[in-house]
Amino acid sequence: MSLTQTSGVFAGVHEDGINDFVTAFFNSRPRYLRWGSPAFVPATSISETRIPAIPPFNIEYLVELEQPRLDLYPDTFGFGLPPGRNQFSLEIKVKLTVGCQSKPRDPKDDNIPRVEPISTDLVLCARGHFERQASELVLIVDDVVIKDIRPESLGVVLSCMLRMIVQEMLRDLRIPYRSVFIGIGTLAPVGGITIDNDTASAFANIV
């Protein structure tokens, strides 16, 4: 079976290559790995992203993620959620910190609440797939679980919260077809993106 199949041009990106793109993204834009409310992140910068505290009690929190590593089907790295056909999986170590108000506000003080950070380390497992949107490869998260957390309902709550953050984190991690095809010709993409043999396959025609 030819690589190009019914198209004119084929690009196969091995999971090592995908992870090189991922590393390039987070090396350039590390703010996508550190999300904090104003007590932790006063302003968005290149290295961190400010998010609102949780109303109505203004709960301050900080989410620090290690750079994710993607595993394309079939399972190579033994992550918590193994990838199915046409899927990738990833595992991220997450440090979740909550700003615990250790003493009540006192008008005689400087009127600023004292926030004592308390942290926990979690391992987030996610599974998703690649989609072609126009001429870009984008990462879509299908499932998220928190590893080894009890009770299960707490895991569901945290999974939901972290899923939103991971989706936001990956939203801007888009790989143009121009890069997937290392700049060969002017391309008109064809079909979607499949994952097999640890490789994401994309198709196009040179126009």
């Binding site: 030819s2 190009t4 090396n27 290392i182 700049g183 040179i206």
Partner: protein
Amino acid sequence: MSDIQVAVDEVQAGQLVSDAQALLGTQSRSGSGSLGPFTASWSASAGFSGGSVDLRAPDIVRISNMNMNFTVGIGLSIDLNDFLPRLCIPRICIPIPFLPDICTPRICLPPWPTIPVGPVNHSGTVNFTTDFRLLASQSGSNWNVAIQIVNIPSLSLDAISALIVTGLIGAVSLALLAVPFIGPLLALAVATIGAVIGVAAVTGLLGPILGLFLNGLSFDVYQQPQVQQVLPNMGPNDPAVSIRISALSAQVLVSDEDELVLDADIVPA
């Protein structure tokens, strides 16, 4: 396994070659060479187009019926003294009895001039089939994949040479008409010079001229910077994201279809 493998089928490889032919554009050369007994000066330009691509493992791109579209201008200087006798009025003596003969001096016209001929310009197309070899290389800050000619093909030039011969003889005739006193010898001069500017002589000059354009002929079918921007700068907190192609190789793979395959390794830039 490489980080990225890109495969191009034969039809689209033909498109890459066509784009590369256009990118190479028209090349120009000039020089001098032998045209029979004469030394001819010439200038020529050539470009390439067309042809069908046949990919052959492990690294050959055969292009059939590729056109070399060329223009050549050939100019000569002909010393007519090499071909024509010098015109002289011989010495004539009149015998006079009891006195010495009265003789006229031998009077010769000045030597024949050297005449410029041409340049005679001819545009044509020559068609050939030959093999090119895939070569991936770094060139400055770029990665290049070129196809480089393996052997210079033999060109069928006799028909083109015959047209050039006709043009050259016409130009010789025109140049001779301007030579004083040549009237009675015009036909002799044209015939003598025409005999030495034959098809074989022109082919002997034209072949090496066109060979210069084929020698080392190379088309860049892929040329990209080593550092490639993946995402543009999106503001002060989101700088551009780039990768660097750290290794690149090219080959032809054969399955149920022949494909030109590039293997690239990348690293974050």
